[in-house]
Subunit: 204 residues, 2 copies
């Protein structure tokens, strides 16, 4: 009876739609999500989703936002975990980030690739991504306080780190990295290299 519209005819179509869409994305990519097939799989008709989402893009944006929330939680759990060293926490953050992408390729693609999104809800999505980014910035700041790296603009350092992990994730998802390679090793190597680069970098 408040923000999340509860069950009426169906039970809770809104969340069912989000779940089913996410499942379909995982199974066969964002392209496979169609209003009609969604309805079919949920036992409702094709235009039922329009009672809960303005249009298809809005639905997908909601799914993507849920993805950001999941990833954000995973990242946050690292900070909240056992008080390891700040370097270790940064490493874990990067590794966890890429691992999420590798485990949920289609979902990750939707989050950043904006594959089927054509609305101006996009600011909303960018905001969700931004919240995630701020967690990276915070981790960098903490590391700075511990004296692990140069005290330059943490935001800039965070951009570099984010670029590296996001790039690695994207390349892997798109199959650009030879399948024979050891992705876990590459993930570790990448995060370490960036951390070394940030530590040693002499100029702002």
């Amino acid at each position: 009876m408040d923000s999340p519209p509860r069950a009426y005819h169906h039970g809770d179509l809104r969340t069912a739609l989000l779940d089913e869409a996410a499942a379909m994305i995982t199974e066969s990519g964002a392209q496979s999500v169609t209003m009609r097939s969604l309805g079919l799989r949920l036992g409702v008709s094709r235009s039922a989703p329009y009672r809960h989402f303005e249009d298809k893009s809005a639905l997908l944006v909601a799914v993507a936002k849920a993805g950001f929330r999941r990833l954000g939680d995973r990242v946050q759990a690292i900070g909240a975990g056992a008080p390891r060293s700040s370097v270790e926490r940064l490493r874990r953050l990067g590794e966890e980030y890429v691992r999420f992408a590798v485990e949920n390729p289609a979902h990750y693609r939707l989050m950043y690739g904006k594959e089927a999104l054509t609305r101006q809800d996009l600011p909303e999505l960018r905001e969700a991504a931004n919240a995630l980014f701020e967690q990276v910035v915070d981790a960098i700041r903490a590391h700075q306080r511990r004296g692990g790296i140069k005290r330059q603009d943490p935001r800039v350092q965070a951009y570099v780190a984010w670029s590296a992990v996001h790039g690695l994730a994207s390349l892997w998802i798109d199959g650009q990295i030879q399948a024979t390679d050891d992705i876990d090793g590459l993930i570790r190597h990448t995060t370490r290299t960036v951390l070394e680069g940030i530590r040693a970098h002499p100029r702002a």
Copy 2:
């Protein structure tokens, strides 16, 4: 009479299609490219493109490949230029790479994002991307020979470098990097950081 089908009725519809599609992509994104509008803008009918490309995806793949060729040429020009130091060449390579993406966002997105591509021509695309990657590997090898960095697997180091520039380019294109930021400075900073990281990294 050989691989590139010459002008018949139209003049050279095949290349005209590629050019026009690229223009439309630049103007308003890959989504705006439609068989019908393509025909309209070129004064032919909607299904004329089918005489030159198997389907829409094949056409877009061809456009993307042309993009890889352009970017590859730009990168190669750096290697062929004045014999600067190997570090400087690597820096330039990274900077040029991101600059291309920033200047041709929609085209770059098509090349890697596979936005509207649904075929198995994708191996062909991956190959084009791979050729580009090999140029990075070569530049890293050259730098290794000059003693600039540790002599570990150049391929792994190249992946790290590629991830960083590709990630930065993607984030920028997707508007994830605050517009107030100085992108050129960020590009330079990123490439330098990665180079430092590769140099200093102690473990394989």
